[in-house]
């Protein structure tokens, strides 16, 4: 049943790769988003301008174009940089931009911009009095961030983060275009070989719906955790 002309196990491996790309890029996106949101809220004009440029450019350009640019242009750019390192300092390194690295980094960069908007709004939603109280306790700014600002911000950010994750998950399908063997790519190969599009594409669609449904449960649990003390939500 699940054999699918022998493509069943490969499709499953593809699903794992899809999940891997999604998780790694969402980690990158969360980090980039936090940094960018902080830059947007900082008093430094330069940081603010950089962050705004980043989020504006990302919102104007299709994901696929950015991915193609990074995949085909990334190696040339990196090579030029390492050549320069070798000529100038004698440092000899080689960095390989393969489809996995290019895909994961592109998706991370794209969703970093969206996460930044979510985090920015959530940081602003935290009651100013909480931060004043923390300052009055003599906490330094890292401690305020870790113990007061971040945990309370997450309550406001979670719905937006959940949405971003769902969109990100579907965006990972694009890595099949630059040749990575995720579940879409394997279904595409199988379709071309066996001439049975529905047999291979429909299980992949179900796979995406399954990952989405499981993540929905996870976000429900997270929401409950971060809303402790705020009554039922």
């Amino acid at each position: 049943m699940i054999d699918l002309h022998g493509y069943g196990p490969r499709l499953f491996e593809g699903a794992l790769l899809t999940f891997e790309v999604a998780v790694l890029s969402v980690i990158l996106a969360l980090l980039l988003g936090l940094v960018t949101a902080t830059a947007k809220l900082s008093r430094s004009r330069l940081l603010h301008a950089f962050a705004t440029l980043y989020t504006t450019v990302i919102r104007g350009v299709p994901d696929l174009v950015l991915m193609l640019l990074l995949f085909y242009g990334g190696q040339i750019g990196i090579n030029a940089f390492t050549d320069w390192l070798y000529d100038a300092f004698g440092i000899d390194i080689f960095i390989n931009i393969n489809a996995f690295v290019a895909g994961t980094i592109t998706i991370g960069i794209i969703f970093g911009a969206y996460m930044a908007e979510t985090f920015r709004g959530a940081f602003l939603a935290v009651d100013e009095g909480q931060l004043e109280a923390a300052r009055a306790y003599g906490m330094n700014s890292w401690k305020i961030f870790k113990r007061v600002h971040f945990p309370q911000m997450m309550r406001h950010a979670l719905p937006g983060l959940g949405n971003n994750w769902m969109v990100l998950l579907k965006t990972t399908a694009l890595v099949s275009i630059i040749g990575l063997a995720d579940m879409v790519k394997i279904a595409d190969e199988a379709t071309k070989a066996e001439h049975a599009p529905f047999l291979f594409m429909l299980p992949v669609a179900v796979g995406y719906l399954a990952i989405a449904s499981v993540s929905e449960l996870f976000f429900k649990w997270l929401t409950k955790r971060y809303n402790v003390g705020f009554g039922e939500t």
């Binding site: 919102r59 350009v61 299709p62 193609l68 640019l69 965006t171 399908a173 594409m201």
Partner: protein
């Protein structure tokens, strides 16, 4: 001035540039036309489909509302690329289609792509409108009922006009999302903007000029759409503006 004449004028500025010749700029122009056409037509049909679907989504008939919910759940929960592949490869396998008049449409990749894009945007738009209809102020409906309006008249005169206005910002995002999503049309051999950029890249092995140029075209398009919707919002959503004088 025709396109050819315009290109001749541009050619004057381009002397010595190896990559951006009249030839490749012409390809970008064709890609631009294809992208705009594809996105505009699918948005238009998708919008027409979404209005009745959004009304049905809130229907008291469980069979109607649940099946529309299932449709939007599936189309919003799976990648557009999968939907595109299903339409592109799948139609050819429908029994008997090769002998019918539909075969003419199936052979050209443009029509399967239009089909997939239309159903996708209709699903998202349905949910946007459904949300806007649901958030209609109770008082407006009560007032309409007090006037003795029938259900259909209330929908036409009260609920839909105010829901459309409230849906405007979210719909503007959906239009930009569709423009960006249309880049995958190049995967099924449609020569859209991204397809043209890919051709220029592979012809000259110049990823930076090819893709950055097309990125700027997409950006210009996105920000024009954004500006258009901001303008609409300013005119149609005046009543929702916070009046801070």
């Amino acid at each position: 001035m025709s396109v050819e004449q315009l290109l001749q004028t541009i050619a004057g500025y381009l002397n010595g540039n190896d990559i951006f010749t009249v030839n490749t700029l012409g390809m970008y122009w064709d890609g631009f036309v294809n992208t705009v056409q594809l996105v505009f037509i699918s948005l238009l049909i998708g919008l027409a489909l979404a209005v009745p679907l959004a009304i049905g989504r809130g229907s008291p008939l469980k069979l109607v509302s649940k099946s529309i919910w299932l449709y939007t759940y599936i189309f919003r929960g799976t990648p557009l690329l999968i939907q595109l592949y299903l339409a592109y490869y799948g139609f050819a396998f429908v029994p008997g289609i090769q002998d019918s008049w539909l075969w003419f449409f199936v052979q050209d990749p443009l029509y399967p792509a239009l089909f997939a894009f239309t159903l996708n945007t209709a699903a998202y738009t349905t949910e946007i409108f459904h949300g806007a209809i649901k958030s209609t102020a109770k008082g407006e409906i009560e007032a309409a009922r007090a006037f003795g309006m029938s259900k259909a008249m209330m929908m036409r005169r009260i609920i839909l006009p105010s829901a459309f206005r409230r849906a405007l910002p979210a719909y503007g995002n959906e239009v930009i999302f569709m423009l960006h999503a249309s880049a995958i049309a190049s995967v099924v051999t449609i020569m859209d903007l991204t397809g043209a950029a890919y051709y220029v890249y592979s012809r000259f092995y110049a990823p930076f000029p090819a893709f950055i140029f097309v990125a700027f075209i997409y950006m210009a398009l996105s920000f024009s759409i954004q500006g258009f919707f901001r303008h609409l919002e300013k005119r149609l959503l005046v009543h929702l503006k916070p009046n801070n004088r």
